[in-house]
Subunit: 213 residues, 2 copies
């Protein structure tokens, strides 16, 4: 297969370019004094519900904003805008992840030094986003109780590149026969020592995730 | 950004090569008289549970086998092997989808003319698998009741390339406050006329999906 080595080479160039841009972004975020949190998970693990709660909670006391990535639709930006925080949708077309350039472009006319927290919700995908640094300070990986306790073993890279794991939809744990111990042990096997929080958007969020507001 | 056009060009070459191999596969499947069904969905929508039921049901009366794709682990092959059918795992490393070459390699020492049905479970992903023809006769896209009714609108391509949509985990529909009408209408918006089946691996499957056994 001739194209394979060329694809690898081009991919490395793309990732190298992304790293350069991500470093620029990280410097810009530091200089502006904004703390940047990104969220990754498969589609439908509750990233938007989580973010909607977080923005609503934080908006009263902190200056918060969000970028949200999807292949198509502006549904999530519309949902998140209900929190009152500034929100911008990034539509990626057929691209299965955000990259640093998309984040740079989305921020071009935003005064980020006016923000305390910026959230970046990635495209729902457990593979592609893992290779792309977005300049964030903290990356959360979400895992819902309905998706199977072995997902960390099957998608190790995305858990490996995350700083905190959040188990969502805990209100469905019993109905889904969720094995909490197995999920936690699988997370620790691929990312030893990572913090694990458990939440439900239908119950209290702030106390369990421990936002320092 | 210099690398973008090169990436597109290489991607087109890869897809073109895949189409050639998929055509070869399809001819081989036809000649062997085996009907090939592939399954796509996000991670944890129930592809393996669905397949486990289908294999167990069909195994008594038909000659069935399965290939199952994951980035890592042989968990799914082990689960599916409990049905008694021959099963082979394809581990893709960091690749977010199966391609026709992987299927060809996995089948190299199998006598597929001894089979009536071959199932191919793709890597859990709502983006990458949509561009890769695997030579299958029928592609099922699975959507579970816990993942949000708007997913077809957000991931239109994967629904567009499928022949049948299957809504899974119907036993959780009430707990997840699943809006069946909204989900069906969103599926029809991106893929007009597609058949939609509703199943639960905890209840009867065969009568609802209507396998012609």
């Amino acid at each position: 297969m001739t194209p394979q080595p060329r694809l690898v080479e081009v991919r490395q160039n793309v990732l190298r370019q992304n790293d350069v841009r991500a470093r620029e972004l990280r410097q810009r975020f530091r200089a502006a004094g904004v703390f940047v949190v990104s969220l990754v998970s498969r589609p439908g693990s509750g990233k938007t519900a989580f973010l909607e709660k977080a923005l609503t909670l934080l908006h009263a006391r902190r200056r918060v904003a969000a970028l949200v990535g999807d292949l198509a639709t502006e549904n999530d930006a519309a949902r998140l805008a209900r929190s009152g925080a500034p929100v911008r949708q990034i539509t990626t077309g057929t691209v299965c992840h955000l990259d640093a350039a998309m984040v740079q472009n989305a921020l071009v006319d935003w005064q980020i030094d006016q923000l305390d927290f910026l959230f970046i919700e990635n495209v729902g995908n457990l593979v592609c986003p893992s290779s792309y640094d977005l300049g964030e300070d903290l990356r959360l990986v979400l895992l819902s109780v309905t998706e199977g306790e072995d997902k960390p073993l099957k998608y190790p890279t995305i858990f490996n590149t995350a700083d905190l794991a959040v188990i969502t939809k805990m209100d469905l744990a019993e109905a889904a026969e969720f094995d909490e111990a197995a999920a936690e042990s699988n997370i620790q096997r691929v990312r030893p020592g990572i913090g694990v929080s458990k939440v439900s958007a239908k119950t209290a969020l702030a106390s369990r995730i421990g936002w320092r507001t």
